[in-house]
């Protein structure tokens, strides 16, 4: 039992913090988000050069084989500095979905270098965030597999060059068997990509598939276990991001209430604000504990993993939104301005809750898994 980062992990963590402080200064945030696709590719290239993009990719797939703790070390920094990039979707989720597959080998090599962006479409409009509720159909024809259907939300999918999409190859809409995973290029005939910006600057997509050719990844009839495990990895990574963001929001708030004066004294001298600040710190400690719990259970069996990740998601979401809201509240008016960083943290916490299903979804998921 050990809750401390190794020296190597700590170095990784420090390097993300340095990068974040340099390249994602709060004061530059609006400018960075407004910059065009070229600037985004350049920044992504910097992260590739630092080796972070290939870090979570398995060694067998040509990556660095970083484990959950290494990913956690990176994600905390991404959260602390609100680095708004598709790292979890492209570098954690996609490599976990493609791990060991022939179909994905070439794509992973290009993901590792930052040449290609990939995203996964796993969520459908009526699915309630359940990964097994798949109505999108895949049919095998003489020329290979063709797909019909829609994906309501593709996290970070707006700028993806490739999509991984779950589709039903057999069975009824809510059965666990009969689900396959397919790879398709953005330019595929019959694929419509609608792109959206979220309030936290992330750029997502909605897909419509009308007789689209897809390359199967792994077993076309039983991809669900791989999908669920991969999404749990992605969620655990986001929990660490949420923890980093909470920490930064709390530090900013503590600084503010120590220095901001009203009625002739620092507002941090008011007991009510002190206790609120304590509740924020306690929420942060709880969230950190849950992020550890989820992350360190990733390699256990499916039920333990799912229970730990679902539990983590519930508590970190609740804590994160609470901390974000109180950070804004304690800042008063300036808290809601674009200029200060706290409202950006709140927005990110709100969206982290939604990604891969909100707390409500994971609470029900947790309840359904026997301890």
């Amino acid at each position: 039992m050990d809750f401390s980062y190794s020296d190597e992990q700590q170095m990784l963590r420090d390097s993300v913090d340095r990068y974040g402080a340099e390249k994602w200064a709060a004061s530059d945030r609006l400018k960075i988000l407004a910059a065009g696709p070229e600037a985004a590719r350049r920044r992504w290239g910097e992260m590739a050069d630092l080796g972070w993009l290939m870090l979570p990719i398995a060694e067998a797939d040509g990556g660095l084989g970083g484990g959950p703790a290494e990913v956690m070390a990176v994600m905390e920094g991404i959260g602390r500095h609100l680095i708004t990039v598709p790292y979890v979707s492209c570098c954690v989720l996609v490599p976990a979905l493609l791990a060991g597959s022939e179909a994905g080998a070439e794509l992973l090599a290009r993901v590792a270098t930052g040449e290609a962006l990939a995203a996964a479409g796993l969520i459908e409009a009526d699915g309630g965030y359940d990964l097994h509720r798949v109505a999108t159909r895949a049919e095998r024809g003489p020329e290979g597999w063709r797909l019909w259907g829609a994906k309501a939300h593709v996290e970070d999918g707006a700028d993806a060059d490739w999509f991984l999409v779950s589709a039903r190859t057999a069975g009824a809409t809510d059965e666990r068997d009969g689900i396959g995973l397919f790879l398709l290029p953005r330019a595929a005939d019959g694929l419509t990509v609608d792109a959206f910006r979220a309030i936290d600057g992330h750029r997502h997509a909605r897909l419509t598939l009308e007789n689209v050719a897809g390359l199967p990844v792994g077993d076309a009839e039983s991809a669900l276990p791989v999908i669920e495990a991969a999404v749990d990895r992605a969620i655990a990574a986001q929990l660490a991001e949420a923890v980093g963001s909470m920490e930064a929001a709390s530090v900013a708030t503590l600084d503010y209430i120590r220095t901001r004066e009203q009625f002739g004294v620092a507002i941090g001298s008011f007991q009510v604000l002190q206790h609120r600040m304590v509740d924020m710190i306690v929420a942060g400690e709880e969230a950190r504990s849950m992020a550890y719990h989820a992350t360190l259970n990733l390699q256990r069996d499916a039920a333990e993993r799912a229970r730990a990740v679902a539990a983590g998601k519930v508590r970190v979401s609740e804590s994160g939104i609470y901390v974000g809201q109180q950070a804004v509240q304690l800042h008063g008016g300036v808290g809601i301005s674009e200029e200060l960083i706290v409202s950006h943290h709140l927005r990110r916490q709100m969206m982290l809750n939604l990604a891969f299903g909100p707390a409500e979804h994971h609470r029900a998921r947790f309840a359904a898994i026997p301890a």
């Binding site: 939300h153 002739g264 509240q329 709100m350 939604l354």
Partner: protein
């Protein structure tokens, strides 16, 4: 004790309901339900329609062009407006400066300003807060120095909502540097076109343009623009305080609109084969929300009843403000939850549109965060209630 309206009130209710029937454009609905303000031109259109009917100022006495309605009539009017998804009227002229003008203004000021508030020809904004004077408003530093027949105003105001739309601003400024804190503060009316006055947008997290900084750089206004007596500006706030409860009360009545927004979204979205609204978890959350809205609206009814009887309702206005902001926040958050994956699609990149409710539900949820900060933060409301009601 009874909840029933008498015959006259029932007749009035029919009249109001008829007025609103079909009179509210469909396009207003989502915005209104999420607690967001309509565009200024829409609010002006709405205000003029009301005023043409004689209903421009539901809380003003008749002699100034108001309706002279009883509190019960006001309640009926607002309930019917909420029912029809009509917006709340823009309140800075009607509820904030208007009553001060008709209570403390000169006959000339009344004649000049009041009719133009009713028609929204004049759009007023409020120059109170400053960078160093938010919750502690008495720390304000903007000064108005007498120079012959003018005041020369210098300083900076912050969180001036709708200054970019407004034609006039009412400003609290120091007319004496000797007097301390609350003393020596005066209330001055300023035309927004006066030279030296500059408006700068404050971008906010909801991505709507609604608030500003105001810079006063030797802004000269005639001394006739002083409202009431010099150095007494702080005291006029008390009039506001008494009317503030009506502003809170009126907005609280409009929460039924948010309930409808949530209900519609949750009816439309399906989880598997079931509308979200039929799932026990969501049904219980919505029920809880509706119940708390009923509780708040009954508190408002009691406030109205107190007002009708001329009874002192103590700090219940603060309580309504406190709970209203909590419920605005909870309701818009629940609405966002009801939208599911769509909630991540705030703005379309390219030519496809977002869903019908977006971005309003999300903007509403973000905007709602400020409701526990402005108009006296929730912490300040607690202080007020502790002092006034509990003597602590």
């Amino acid at each position: 004790m009874n909840l029933d309206f008498d015959a006259a009130d029932l007749a009035f209710q029919s009249e109001v309901r008829e007025f609103f029937a079909g009179g509210i454009p469909d396009g207003w609905r989502s915005k209104v339900r999420s607690g967001l303000r309509l565009e200024p031109e829409d609010l002006i259109y709405y205000q003029r329609r009301l005023n043409d009917r004689g209903w421009g100022a539901p809380t003003w006495p008749k002699e100034y062009g108001g309706t002279g309605w009883t509190p019960t009539q006001q309640y009926i009017f607002w309930s019917e407006a909420a029912r029809a998804d009509a917006p709340a009227q823009f309140h800075q002229g009607l509820e904030l400066i208007g009553p001060i003008i008709f209570t403390y203004g000169t006959p000339e000021q009344k004649a000049c300003y009041l009719p133009r508030i009713l028609t929204l020809e004049d759009w007023w904004c409020q120059g109170y807060s400053e960078p160093g004077a938010g919750s502690d408003l008495a720390a304000l530093r903007t000064r108005a120095d007498r120079d012959g027949e003018h005041y020369v105003i210098n300083g900076q105001k912050m969180w001036t909502s709708y200054a970019h739309v407004a034609s006039h601003v009412f400003v609290l400024a120091r007319t004496s540097q000797e007097a301390k804190r609350q003393q020596g503060i005066s209330l001055i009316l300023v035309d927004m076109n006066t030279p030296g006055l500059r408006v700068q947008k404050i971008p906010t997290m909801d991505e709507k343009y609604h608030t500003n900084e105001l810079f006063f750089d030797d802004v000269r206004v005639p001394v006739g623009n002083l409202l009431g007596e010099e150095g007494r500006g702080w005291g006029y706030g008390k009039v506001l305080l008494d009317r503030e409860r009506m502003v809170s009360a009126a907005t609280a009545i409009f929460l039924t609109q948010t309930v409808r927004g949530i209900r519609d979204a949750a009816t439309w979205r399906r989880i598997g084969n079931m509308p979200l609204i039929e799932t026990p978890g969501f049904a219980a959350k919505l029920a809880q929300y509706e119940i708390e809205v009923i509780a708040l609206q009954t508190m408002v009814l009691r406030l109205m009843d107190d007002a009708a009887r001329g009874a002192d309702s103590g700090p219940r206005g603060s309580m309504v403000k406190l709970r209203w902001s909590q419920l605005t926040q909870a309701g818009t958050a629940l609405w966002v939850e009801a939208l599911g994956p769509e909630a991540a699609h705030f703005a379309a990149l390219g030519d496809t549109g977002a869903s019908a409710d977006m971005p309003y539900a999300m903007q509403g949820a973000l905007y709602a965060r400020v409701t526990s900060i402005y108009g006296g933060s929730s912490e300040i409301q607690h202080n007020i209630i502790a002092r006034r009601a509990l003597g602590l």
